[in-house]
């Protein structure tokens, strides 16, 4: 026992601060949320919470707004991640070419990622403004639009606009990650393929793309989770409006807890978020495996 302690003391001393932090401020709160989802609990009322079984979940799921939230979360998540992936991959391929001024272009493309979300949100709100916003002015001058659009204020365009801004802020992370992998690809291999008569797209599809698979999985999984859970973009741009058109589950949780003070219901919504998230991940990896199995045949 003493020798065990002596051998491992250092490891435990080093881990202690991290473990204390994670247990007290992550694990305990998570457990708390799961427990509270079965209670009638109000942030303003101090006193014993009432155990009500599955009632919170039933209430939430019977509310049509919840299903709108689910739909919005899914559209927002997949729209954002899809857009980020395409823009990120495209810019990474561009930056990987033999170009002059790579440092400048690379710097330019990381900028959105270091801009605080509030600044990104404010700037885009100004640019998308229906009265004096530059986007409307430009589009009308070119002749694409006849009259200005209230991008963030109309039900039909709000979600698209929010996704657009999110893609702008988030794509650089993909660019940098893809670029790092692209730079490890052996040029000889590409040249050999070229000599064998492969065109640009064949080279990309057969040599480059398979090498990006690992990083793609990491990026997609992480960003699916982060986007699904994201609160600040939408809150800063629309607060979930107009008429709940951009209200995702994360926004709904916040409103339920901090505007209506229904801790129990809010906990139930966040538990359902975790369930949906796990479902999404399971589906993703199932599709991934299926595709790989098909590839092996």
């Amino acid at each position: 026992m003493i020798s065990f302690l002596k051998k491992h003391t250092i490891a435990y001393v080093f881990m202690l601060p991290a473990v204390v932090f994670l247990i007290l401020l992550l694990l305990v709160p998570i457990i708390n949320v799961f427990i509270k989802s079965f209670y009638e609990s109000n942030l303003l009322i101090v006193g014993d919470d009432l155990f009500i079984g599955l009632q919170n979940f039933i209430n939430v799921m019977q509310d049509p707004l919840f299903w709108t939230n689910v739909k919005n979360s899914i559209v927002y998540t997949f729209g954002s991640v899809g857009g980020e992936y395409v823009v990120g991959l495209g810019t990474a391929i561009l930056l990987n070419q033999n170009i002059k001024g790579r440092a400048f272009f690379r710097g330019a493309m990381i900028i959105p990622w270091v801009v605080p979300i509030v600044v990104a949100g404010m700037t885009w709100r100004w640019m998308l403004n229906p009265d004096y916003g530059i986007i409307n002015v430009l589009l009308m001058n070119i002749g694409i639009l006849d009259q200005s659009i209230n991008w963030l204020g109309s039900e039909t365009t709000a979600m698209f606009s929010v996704i657009w801004v999110n893609v702008w802020r988030s794509f650089p992370f993909y660019t940098i990650s893809f670029l790092a992998v692209l730079q490890t690809i052996n040029k000889n291999e590409l040249e050999a393929a070229e000599i064998d008569g492969a065109n640009m797209f064949q080279k990309f599809w057969n040599i480059t793309f398979p090498k990006l698979k690992g990083i793609s999985i990491i990026l997609i999984v992480l960003h699916l989770i982060w986007t699904f859970n994201n609160f600040d973009f939408i809150w800063i741009l629309t607060e979930g409006g107009p008429l709940n058109a951009t209200e995702t589950l994360a926004i709904a949780t916040y409103k339920e807890a901090f505007m209506k003070y229904h801790y129990g219901t809010a906990s139930a919504i966040s538990v359902l978020m975790v369930v949906i998230l796990i479902g999404m991940m399971a589906l993703y990896f199932w599709l991934q495996n299926k595709q790989e199995a098909k590839g092996d045949n």
């Binding site: 491992h8 250092i10 490891a11 435990y12 001393v13 080093f14 881990m15 991290a18 473990v19 932090f21 994670l22 401020l25 998570i30 708390n32 949320v33 509270k36 823009v87 561009l94 070419q97 170009i99 440092a103 272009f105 690379r106 710097g107 330019a108 493309m109 900028i111 959105p112 270091v114 801009v115 605080p116 979300i117 509030v118 600044v119 404010m122 700037t123 100004w126 640019m127 403004n129 004096y132 530059i134 702008w168 650089p172 992370f173 940098i176 990650s177 670029l179 790092a180 990083i215 990026l219 609160f231 809150w235 807890a257 901090f258 801790y263 809010a266 966040s270 978020m273 975790v274 998230l277």
Partner: protein, 282 residues
């Protein structure tokens, strides 16, 4: 496909530069436009036919934000909370990463590693309510300590994984020879691992700093006292107050970006290498 190889190459590079230009405009225009708006006099900002450059540039908007609002106070708060949380996260992260990288034979270390990976998946909104209650019970709402602690919780896992990835690349022989010379573990970390890891620690620190500087939801939830707001939440509040005063809002936006821009130009290299270390090995 009758083009000669040279023409084809030239065509390809023209197309590349064209798209690079478009992508750069896409990335930079919003900030550029914010700046151009901020230096316009009020009547030109709200014009249905805006011009790109104003003939009468003014610093009035900047003056107003800096001297007539709590902006300097928000700035100070942001600096205190960001720097505090980055230092604390790095301290916790270095120790944990060392354990994950070098002492993973001790039972429980690997569990911690997996726990840290899973922690990435926890929705912040899910934690906001219980964290709010914890902070309320500890009397830490509207306090620097409360904000620093809660920022740190979300920064530690990613910092630990970035640093672990780097520690893994330091040859273990260096340590072994130091051990033979009679160094103890703490001495080893301070005198050998840390100096070798400066680039990794800097880039992990920058990553955490960018996040802390941008952090919104935790401060938005835990702070109700205006004098405790950070830049993100303070300026967000301006949006409600100055609903149509876009010149002033854009001046505030530019003022937030300036410190990051300065830091960024100096350490772009670190940031890039740190990000890639984290994402390709993690």
């Amino acid at each position: 496909m009758h083009l000669s190889r040279k023409t084809k190459k030239r065509l390809l590079s023209t197309v590349t530069y064209f798209f690079l230009l478009i992508a750069s405009i896409y990335s930079l225009f919003p900030i550029f436009w914010a700046f151009l708006t901020a230096i316009k006099p009020a009547d030109e900002v709200r014009s249905p036919t805006p011009t790109l450059f104003t003939a009468n540039p003014t610093l009035e908007n900047f003056r107003s934000v800096l001297f007539e609002t709590q902006f300097p106070r928000y700035f100070l708060n942001s600096v205190i909370v960001s720097v505090g949380s980055v230092l604390l996260s790095i301290f916790i992260g270095v120790l944990a990463a060392y354990a994950l990288s070098r002492l993973s034979k001790s039972p429980g270390v690997k569990t911690l590693g997996v726990g840290m990976l899973l922690a990435q998946m926890v929705p912040v909104v899910l934690l906001m309510i219980p964290l709010y209650r914890i902070m309320m019970n500890l009397g830490l709402l509207d306090s620097y300590t409360g904000l620093i602690i809660s920022y740190t919780v979300f920064a530690v896992p990613i910092i630990t994984w970035m640093l672990k990835g780097f520690f893994d690349t330091i040859p273990i022989e260096i340590e072994e020879s130091a051990m033979l010379d009679g160094c103890n573990k703490f001495y080893l970390i301070v005198r050998i691992m840390l100096p070798l890891s400066v680039p990794a620690i800097v880039s992990a620190g920058i990553y955490a700093l960018v996040h802390a500087w941008s952090e919104f939801v935790l401060t938005f939830t835990f702070v109700s006292d205006d004098s405790m707001r950070t830049l993100s939440t303070g300026v967000f509040n301006f949006m409600g107050l100055w609903i149509v005063d876009w010149g002033r809002l854009m001046a505030a936006a530019i003022l937030i970006i300036i410190p990051i821009a300065i830091v960024f130009t100096f350490i772009q290299k670190y940031l890039v290498s740190g990000l890639t270390a984290g994402s390709t090995k993690g």
